[in-house]
Amino acid sequence: MITALRRIYMALFALYLIGPIIVITAVSFNAQKFLAFPPRGFSLRWYAAIFVEADWFAALMNSLTIALASALLSTAIAVPVAYAAWRYGLRYARALFALGIAPFILPPVIMALAFLLFFSSVGVNGLMANVIIAHAIFLLALPLVTISLGLESIDKALIEAAQTMGASGWTVFRTVIVPIAAPFALAGFAFCFVLSLNEYIIALMTVGFTVETLPVKIFNALRYGYTPVIASIAVLFLLVNITVFSLIARFSNLARILGAMD
């Protein structure tokens, strides 16, 4: 009886999670220009459109460039802070760490408005660099948290053993710390990449009128009626997200990053 209830519950929950995705996927393979479910005919033209139609492709390239650059920048800012907080327990590094987490906790529209005000008062408008920096700061919490999780998983006895055997500080860093922490840093980088790719409001407010990212372009397209290209992009994005998180699960410890014990 309990098992049956449990199965029904899990099935309903899974249906709620996956239902909209199934409808979107079906719509994206539709042969006609209008949206229809169940789909009529089968066609891959809406997937081809992302790469063939110049404006969709430009938006895709903008999104990929911004996501890659901001994930790199964010990880580069996070590494020294997380390292100094863990290795030396510097109070200053811990304060920076807390400050770096804050933008991610606030409702994103607040940071979006802050960046808009900042870049317009400095007088630097509409550059792709603006949104790269804005995303790097907004998403900084992700590499900070994953890297410090990685560092905390290092057994301090291992470091002491290396030092006792005469390894220099640099050797310990290179041969003990980096190999253990690197997968976690990579996971932070990947989280940043995926969330930047999907971010809407900060991209809109910082450079929305000059550099169109995919989410911004989709929202603009929604106002002029629907095109099945949006559905195919949704499916493509979901596949990118699934691929990235599968890679994290494969090369790092996903359940641990998400808070399970080993």
Partner: protein
Amino acid sequence: MRNSSLSRYVALIPSSVMIGVFFAIPFALILMVSVSSPADDADFRLGFDLQHFQRFATWFYIERALFSAGLCALIAAISMAIAFPFTYFLTTFKRRAQDLWLIYILAQLSLSEVLIAFSWQILLSRTSGVGNILEMLGIVERSFSMAPSAGAVIAALVYLTVPFSVLLLFPALSRMDRSLLEAARTLGASPVRTFFTVVIPVTRPAIISGAVTVFVLTLGAIIVPQVLGRPQHWTLSVLITDQAIFNFNMPFASALAVVLLALSASVIALVSWLGRRAEA
């Protein structure tokens, strides 16, 4: 030694500059602009003037703030309530099955709010959604559109936040001491009773902090209330975007942002105070 401890700080300079210039200054700007006064030559002049907050203190905006808080509380409650049993069952799965579910949950969580709103719009539309399926099954005579409506906003916002709820509950449920459950079962408690008298009390701190996080997260939603709701379903975040991008009224947008900030901060503070009082 002095030299090496100095170099520890030197290594932090680039990160400090980035965080200081691009987080602390922009954040301070919001506070400054929210109390600026109007000027002829430019949009506003820095100073101290509470007129934008006075404009907020009218029933229209106060009602919006109360509506936002109420909606977010409702979403947090529904989202946590349906995510809890799922997460509880998930943690009993084998590691590999858990990983697969977590990958899917993360992928959905990362999906842009724009795409979620679009998906739900299709799902609730007359021609290509649930209505259509109901018509085919003969449950309703004619397909009908289910959006825009309050129900559409709630369904999509819960959908948007449920992956977060699962991940926020996951650590506590996954680290829960399973021997407690066995003890309760051995003493003759039914599974349902064990769930309510052991599992929920043990994970209460995670439930409370998770609900607060979902509350703040929902406060940030912008597209779903706009696309799936009517103007009476618009939240503070929608109004801020509207003021900043379409009315170019930065001071008022900033004042609304300060209100949103205060709302988020007070909920976080209230709940952590309640949590500490419950522990004492």
